[in-house]
Subunit: 480 residues, 2 copies
């Protein structure tokens, strides 16, 4: 595909984002399939790296991967009242299969609590069968009206953890453990600081007792819900009759959890770090960490430069871009847009002085480095870049988090914020967890993002809407 | 789930297979979703190991992973005449989405040539854009009438490679390269010998010019098509108008290939090696390679044995089965059914003599091994077991491959063979690649499995049906 200009971020954040995604070989709209995307090579390679980080942590915390069917009998969704109400509008329904009209239609999974509830009821009889700690990597369909590449697509890829426990206490420990896993991957791997918190009752998962989430701030100040972990209580246990005999011989419903992150994380990654030149990736999630571009004019230079380039690249595990018919400038441009953290240049002069020119993607700073130092310098630079990206994002989050003590203040701060123009803030205000309060905030197209688990502000106060006492400030923001 | 007996393999091979799958924590029928299965923890862990082996080889041969939509506009299938004819009877169709009847229904992908053809036509303009070498890991739905766990399920997991080339020669090299990759993974990792060959014209993929496959022999002598690689010629290029400007400035249709293996491989793995005690796994694909079962009666023994068990297990990377309330016998039984290659026993007497008892899953032979030798002995034993399983399967293939020189002979050999009773053979006979010949073979429920790429027999001969000259014998067998 020919490469075209990237809209400046400050001019139109949404157009910038779309350009970065397209030019970075990340994804493109499928168009012929409503709201779907094709995940392209660079995007999928990043997803594989994110998957590896998550999957290793899931296994280290005792979970096993399994796979449940894509299709769910439509009647299953009706067994949990809130669940069907939440998901019905978004379902894709299979009514014909094998050339015949089906007696009972199937829905394509919008999430798998119902089908898994069915199997839990077959598998779980006794406290000895608990806990059950499962995860699946799968595709999901939710028929969305407004879609954006990675952030909200009709089909997306995700993982969904599903666990069953004998006590609510144990289930809650699981919910918070997996929220921590998500926060670790976001912060340590994606260099994306997050706030861990509970969703309000109006914002919880359809069928949960309580939903917990990690919320990140994008470069335009909008919030991105980046992962959720649900305390399902005994809701699905009751709906699917998942009972176990306790140690004491009582028949009880299991306590369940579910938790998920999706390809939406890639959108968060892009909107956290990228710039007007294209994708910027935290080195730990960069599929290609360094590329060496050989520079030569004459044929006698070419052989010498290429030979040295291959030797140097082999030592440090870099890729040599030896494509014919492409100028060095075109090559730099190519790798810059794809977010490669380090690009090295090697020309005849560098060869003579035993140096290499090293350019960091995030700062754009070039340094001349002795070839002998490269093997140490590259991992150091990648580590520093990883930390710098995290710190910059952390600082931005701090700079754009503000307190407000009245609904007028909250509205004034957020009213004119848009995804395109930016200017978003995380507004910290005392507010009751009450659907009427959520509704008031929605009047100016913002939402209560979460009630933070850890209060980093001034503790208890009075709800800015009802005047009732609440124990901490909540995060209010415009969001994706 | 309570464990129940396994039907002896010699009594009813099909019932034995189902028992091994269920008791080995591999999969179970989904029942509420027609013809689908739940892939359970041990089954999915094996799939992850197979995926890793394949994916590393795909990347080493220059392919990139991507992801295309699950849903395909129904009209896309109609663009290639043979393709729609082949797949129409098996389609699952989405007619309602987001609460509304769709103007054009979507089918759930039965394979992705059509949607990928659409994108190739957008992405490919010039010979400079070629080759395109893509792969995706995905789920597939084909509405099957008769299903069997792993071997044929309505939904299955697979990978599908899709490539585009500027010449037929280059495409053919790709087709055979990927067939080799499949054969390597089957033989070197799964310890499952295969025959590489071309399918007859009646057995090819709907829309291909020619299909190549690897065929394996199961323990009942039936054939299992275990992977296919298709020369698509310019068929999909023409159907989706995928044209490129050649070096010479001509507009030409691209030459495409596609190739895939699926969770069906797990069925092949099970039917190649398992026995009446349950699953037998080639060590390279065993999620758990060794388990140590501590044995003690009294409480003072327990502490000493467990401590030593932990120490020994740590050194050799084994898992200690320290579950309470389970007898050692129950533990041996548990791991045997799950196909763990090596089970170690450690009791007070072993402790005193600094030994461990090592039991190989395939032979059942127990040896007393000095603890100091374990770190070397375990990898040696695993290597030997891997080779022994391959050699046994190779010998079985050889012993059950027979020549036939008339259709009467072929029919006599295969007529009474069934999946349940076994007795299957690979019958090598000279036969023309002609739908009429295939049809004659199907009269006794056998099929031409392939025309081997390498002739290991007596070269040219006369077709046993038409008398016409053909250049080698083909493989005729009953199959899954």
């Amino acid at each position: 595909m020919p490469e075209s200009p990237i809209t400046p971020r400050s001019q139109d954040f949404a157009a910038w984002y779309q350009d970065v995604v397209l030019q970075g070989d990340m994804a493109e709209p499928a168009e012929v399939v409503k709201g779907c995307m094709v995940i392209k090579a660079n995007g999928y390679a990043i997803w594989e790296l994110i998957q590896r980080q998550l999957d290793d942590r899931f296994k280290a915390t005792g979970h096993q991967n399994v796979y449940f069917p894509l299709l769910i009998p439509q009647s299953f969704l009706h067994k949990e009242a809130e669940h069907v109400e939440g998901f019905s509008p978004e379902l894709a329904v299979v009514t014909i299969a094998g050339g015949k009209e089906l007696e009972e239609p199937y829905v394509i999974r919008p999430t798998s609590e119902t089908i898994i509830g069915h199997f839990f009821s077959k598998w779980i009889q006794s406290y000895r069968d608990l806990p059950v700690l499962l995860n699946q990597w799968a595709n999901i369909i939710r028929w969305e009206l407004r879609t954006r590449l990675f952030l909200r697509t009709t089909e997306f890829l995700w993982q969904e953890g599903h666990t069953a426990h004998s006590t609510h206490e144990e289930a809650m420990a699981e919910v918070l453990r997996m929220l921590d896993v998500y926060a670790q991957v976001a912060e340590d791997e994606m260099a994306m600081p997050v706030i861990k918190g509970a969703k309000t009752q109006s914002e919880k998962f359809a069928g949960a007792v309580r939903t917990y989430a990690i919320e990140a701030m994008m470069q335009n100040g909008l919030a991105l819900q980046s992962g959720t972990s649900h305390d399902l209580g005994q809701n699905f246990g009751r709906a699917f009759d998942v009972k176990f005999q306790s140690k004491e011989g009582q028949l009880e419903y299991v306590w369940q959890t579910s938790w998920g992150v999706s390809t939406r994380l890639i959108g968060g990654l892009i909107m956290s770090h990228s710039d007007d030149k294209g994708l910027v990736l935290p080195p730990r999630l960069a599929p290609v960490k360094s590329v060496l571009v050989p520079i030569y004019r004459k044929d006698d230079e070419k052989a010498r430069v290429l030979e040295a380039a291959e030797r140097i690249a082999r030592d440090i595990g870099a890729k040599v871009d030896d494509r014919e018919g492409q100028s060095p400038g075109a090559k730099f441009f190519h790798w810059e847009r794809r977010g490669v953290p380090i690009v090295l240049e090697l020309g005849p002069r560098d060869l003579a002085s035993n140096n290499v020119v090293l350019k960091r993607r995030d700062t754009g700073v070039k340094e001349t480095v002795p070839q002998a130092d490269l093997a140490a310098r590259i991992p150091d630079t990648l580590d520093r870049m990883q930390k710098d990206l995290y710190n910059a994002a952390k600082q931005r989050l701090k700079d754009n988090t503000v307190l407000a003590n009245s609904i007028g203040e909250v509205e004034a701060i957020l009213r004119d914020v848009t995804a395109e123009k930016g200017g978003g803030k995380f507004v910290m205000a005392h507010m009751k967890d009450d659907p009427a309060c959520d509704a008031r905030i929605k009047e100016f197209k913002a939402t209560v993002r979460c009630i933070p688990l850890v209060d980093e502000f001034d503790g208890a106060g009075k709800c800015i809407l009802t005047g009732e006492p609440v124990d901490r400030r909540v995060v209010i923001a415009k969001a994706y």
